[in-house]
């Protein structure tokens, strides 16, 4: 059985990517299963999705702890203590990272020991779809690494994209983008074995009083420690020559990231600005530029 795990942020397309792969495998006559895992739905939060592909009926459910292939749709998750995308990746397995780095650079930067494949699919998405939505592109990459055929991929993208997109032209663009990514990735040999269960022993759970065992948190909040700036694909950059200090951007920022400097000009907190670009949309004099950003930090 081949087990794939996708890591992305809510809204990027990890779930649909896992479905494109599942459907492609199903069209090729395999048993397939796909499954997303996210908590309370939130755009930008780390999510994972899973696809199992097998010649035999699949007798597993739920999360994949030991994947053969990991698809990282957002490379900033590699530094995220909650997402930890590389956990459990099998020896001889493959990790794909959506990045501008080469495989060698990515391996060094993120301390990857597995075989690495890289491609800047965000750039491809922006060029071919006009959007940083990466579901079908990641599906194309995953299909190639999983050894599936182009025909099954094309049919799968058409089916899955049609479920969520009404614009026929955009569906076809997704098919093209997925095929482009499929061809941009070299075939790669997987050297993983079957799962060896390194399970942990069952223990007796001892009694603890409600002082400890009630679901209450005694420590003060740590939300400020969690920076959200690395969610960005674009960052807003102000041109103070045009800015009229009208404060529309300050009022419209949904995260309260925009403040005013000593000269009365707005500026944003890049540690936490998620790059939604509502400020640029709303600016009446178009003084805010969208700048593509890679590796925010």
């Amino acid at each position: 059985m081949l087990r794939l795990r996708f890591h992305g942020r809510g809204g990027q397309g990890a779930k649909v990517a896992s479905r494109v792969l599942g459907t492609a495998a199903f069209y090729e006559g395999y048993y397939a299963q796909d499954f997303p895992l996210y908590g309370a739905e939130r755009r930008g939060a780390p999510i994972a999705a899973f696809t199992r592909i097998s010649k035999e009926p699949i007798m597993e459910r739920g999360v994949i702890a030991e994947p053969d292939i990991v698809i990282v749709i957002d490379e900033t998750l590699l530094d995220d203590p909650l997402a930890h995308p590389l956990t459990g990746l099998k020896e001889g397995g493959v990790v794909f990272i959506n990045t501008t780095h080469s495989p060698a650079e990515a391996k060094l930067k993120y301390k990857v020991t597995a075989q690495a494949v890289t491609l800047d699919i965000t750039k491809i998405g922006l060029e071919m779809l006009g959007l940083p939505v990466l579901s079908t592109l990641a599906g194309g990459v995953a299909s190639k690494i999983a050894g599936l055929g182009e025909d099954a991929l094309r049919k799968a993208v058409e089916k899955e994209a049609s479920e969520i997109i009404t614009d026929r032209g955009l569906v076809l663009k997704n098919v093209e983008a997925a095929r482009y990514c499929f061809h941009a990735v070299q075939p790669i040999e997987m050297k993983t074995g079957e799962v060896v269960h390194k399970g942990s022993p069952v223990i007796d759970v001892p009694f603890e009083t409600a002082v400890i065992s009630s679901p209450a948190i005694n420590t003060t909040g740590n939300t400020p420690l969690r920076k959200t700036g690395n969610w960005r694909v674009f960052k807003p950059v102000w041109n103070y020559d045009i800015c009229t200090k009208c404060m529309t951007c300050v009022a419209r920022c949904p995260d309260g990231c925009i403040a005013v400097n000593e000269d009365g000009f707005p500026y944003t907190d890049y540690d936490n600005c998620k790059g939604c670009m509502i400020c640029a949309e709303e600016c009446p004099v178009k003084a805010i530029e969208r700048v593509r950003e890679v590796h925010a930090w």
Binding site: R19, G22, T23, F26, Y31, A32, Q33, D34, F35, P36, L37, G39, A40, E41, I58, M59, E60, R61, G62, V63, A65, H197, G199, S200, P201, V202, I203, D204, V205, V211, I212, P215, A216, I217, N218, T219
Partner: protein
């Protein structure tokens, strides 16, 4: 017939579509919402001819479902977890009205602490309501069970509402290949509903769901519900046979996996049964005669089928994905009740696992089977046990430290 990758939720929606339901009162809740979203989309696209009504709560939703069913139309609704509990009062009411609606519950652990992943305390809280309960392991079972549920509910020997249960996330959001039957075949199995006891017609006034004062009348109505539920066992078996004839696959009250010669039996329910079956396969590879008994129909309780299935085994272990706080596993008690007067009964062990969707690892299943083998060898039955691993305990310790508890 087509075969497609469907989630449990989409499979449920397909079952409803093929049942040609008339009325759907709806209120959203994770992880059920995809069902009503899919139905709403189909109604809007004109491929499903039904009335869709959004209401202000699950309490109103179940009331609307019961009331609509009492007018003689085919009704579907769905909820999960907190929503089921919020509408709880009306479960008993509509069951008492003897209206044959079908409701999907997508199992999710109950608050507090609030969570999203599955266990069965929600649906088992509704165990005594009068609703029949069908529990599903696969997405195919979800679709098929909805058709079977209407057959069962609308049969004049039954006339009780039916729950179809599936696990949140592990089934509701999991896609696997599902056969979608043709509408003609679905109609052969499930003809249009012809109500004879509950309908509203201007020419024939009636009062439904009346009040009674006095125990004899109350006892009469309650006990008749019970007799109808027991009758549903026979109706279920008939429906299951006919389903098999029409669709070429059938779903009995229980399912045995490698159980015929099994000496050690896991008793499970819903989607985690798949994991149990994998563990049985592994045990067989090590020459341990293990098998699995999956419960599908929980109400009415198929007692004689269960007794027959586990009779002669050395030990059986019930894996409860629920906890009756202060007692333990609910299904363990039910199975114990079923076998207590039997002569050739297995030793019965109790495990609680998968609460809030916690994984049950192959090693934990090995542990259970090992406990059964030891119990059979020594005659000593271990205390009921929560399945929890050392790694999980260490992670919990880390979280407790982070929360300032240690």
């Amino acid at each position: 017939m087509t075969k497609e990758m469907l989630t449990g939720n989409a499979a449920a929606a397909w079952g409803v579509r093929l049942a040609e339901v008339d009325y759907i009162p709806a209120y959203p809740i994770t992880p059920q919402t995809e069902i009503i979203e899919t139905l709403a989309k189909w109604i809007s696209a004109g491929v499903l001819d039904a009335r869709f009504v959004t209401v202000d709560s699950e309490h109103s939703m179940i009331t609307a479902a019961g009331a609509a069913s009492a007018t003689g139309v085919r009704v579907f609704t769905a909820t999960s977890s907190q929503g089921l509990l919020y509408g709880f009062e009306m479960l008993y009411a509509v069951a008492g009205w003897r209206v044959p609606l079908v409701m999907v519950n997508v199992s999710r652990g109950l608050s507090a602490p609030i969570t999203l992943e599955p266990d069965h305390n929600d649906i088992l809280a509704a165990r005594d309501s009068g609703f029949l309960q069908i529990h599903c392991e696969t997405c195919q079972e979800v679709l098929d069970s909805i058709l079977m549920a209407y057959r069962l509910a609308e049969d004049e020997r039954v006339l009780l509402p039916v729950f179809v249960n599936m696990d949140g996330f592990h089934l509701s959001f999991t896609r696997e290949p599902v056969e979608i039957p043709d509408l003609e075949k679905a109609k052969m199995f499930l003809p249009a509903y012809q109500p004879r006891h509950a309908f509203f017609k201007a020419s024939q006034p009636m009062a439904q769901g009346v009040a009674v004062i006095g125990g004899p009348a109350y006892s009469y109505f309650k006990y008749q519900m019970h007799l109808a539920s027991i009758k549903a066992l026979e109706v279920y078996n008939e429906a299951s046979k006919e389903f098999g004839k029409i669709f070429g696959r059938s779903h009995n009250t229980i399912e045995g996996y490698m159980i015929d010669d099994a000496e050690y039996i896991l008793v499970m329910i819903n989607s985690f049964s798949t994991l149990g079956k994998a563990a049985i396969k592994e045990a067989r590879a090590k020459d341990i005669k293990a098998g699995l008994l999956k419960l599908r129909l929980l109400r009415p309780f198929p007692e004689s089928d269960i007794v027959k299935a586990i009779k002669g085994a050395k030990a059986a272990a019930v894996v409860d994905q629920n906890i009756s706080v202060g007692k333990g596993g609910i299904l363990h008690s039910e199975i114990a009740g079923a076998i207590c007067n039997q002569k050739d009964k297995p030793l019965l062990l109790s495990f609680i696992g998968g609460l809030g969707g916690k994984n049950i690892s192959p090693q934990e299943f090995e542990f259970i089977i090992d406990c059964m083998v030891k119990a059979a060898d020594t005659g000593e039955i271990p205390a009921p046990r929560l399945l929890y691993t050392e790694t999980e305990w260490k992670e919990m310790d880390r979280l407790k430290k982070m929360a300032g508890k240690l």
